[in-house]
Subunit: 157 residues, 2 copies
Amino acid sequence: MITLKPEPLTKASFAPFGDVIEIEGAQHFPINQGFAERFNDLARVDVGEVNISIVTAKVRPKPIGLKLMERHPLGSQIFYPLQDRPWLVVVCVEPQDSKSFRVFRATGRQGINYARNTWHFPLLVLEDGSRFLVVDRKGPGNNLQEVKIDEIRLDVP
Amino acid sequence: MITLKPEPLTKASFAPFGDVIEIEGAQHFPINQGFAERFNDLARVDVGEVNISIVTAKVRPKPIGLKLMERHPLGSQIFYPLQDRPWLVVVCVEPQDSKSFRVFRATGRQGINYARNTWHFPLLVLEDGSRFLVVDRKGPGNNLQEVKIDEIRLDVP
């Protein structure tokens, strides 16, 4: 079993897996007669019909062991945190290659968009009742693939 | 000039104008091995290609006088608050008919989806720096119509 340590989440480090949704570094312009500023076009949304959801999540017991990964072959998936709470994002290139795993520490002002087919672990929050706005695909077809992996431990304080 | 008072925002009262996005009353089911709950399919997203944005908004000086309304003929538009702060939603059926105006007080856990062609006033926040996640349309064509109106005053404390 290997152990992974979270690294900060940046657009560049997350680029192979999808988009980071955040104000920092985004193009922006004034709207609403100058009373609002729009940080525009923050994610490549790759879905057919769109599903808007809210997800509330619980803390997993420690130590956190990753025993499966999942991906969505039919569309991208956005998670945006609603309470300004830091959270964790686990992705990999190939689930059977533990060296391909990355763990990111996202701030409470960073959402992510998993690109279609990006392997990821389910939501990992640091406080019970953490809420996220989710934008993903609606429609027929099996959009969830899960695979078991040799346990990987997360090194989180 | 007439004066309008905010009413609470509910799915039923907002139905003629679009969707309220909130956990309350939504269908939900467990996901992520029981560590998360998904409140699913919260808005009818009526856009072509999707644009994910963040908007930060400033308080307008009081008294707040409405002198214009706007609508988007090419797609729906979601605003979801990111800091659990109450905010205001102004809509109308016909901009030249002041009796058709409604003002809703949304909680910080209520987002809305303006249906295509719903007349609305731009973002009205109660604290500077209020942030929203926006889901609307991307693509060519003029998707903004604005119309001037006889001033309507908002009765907000």
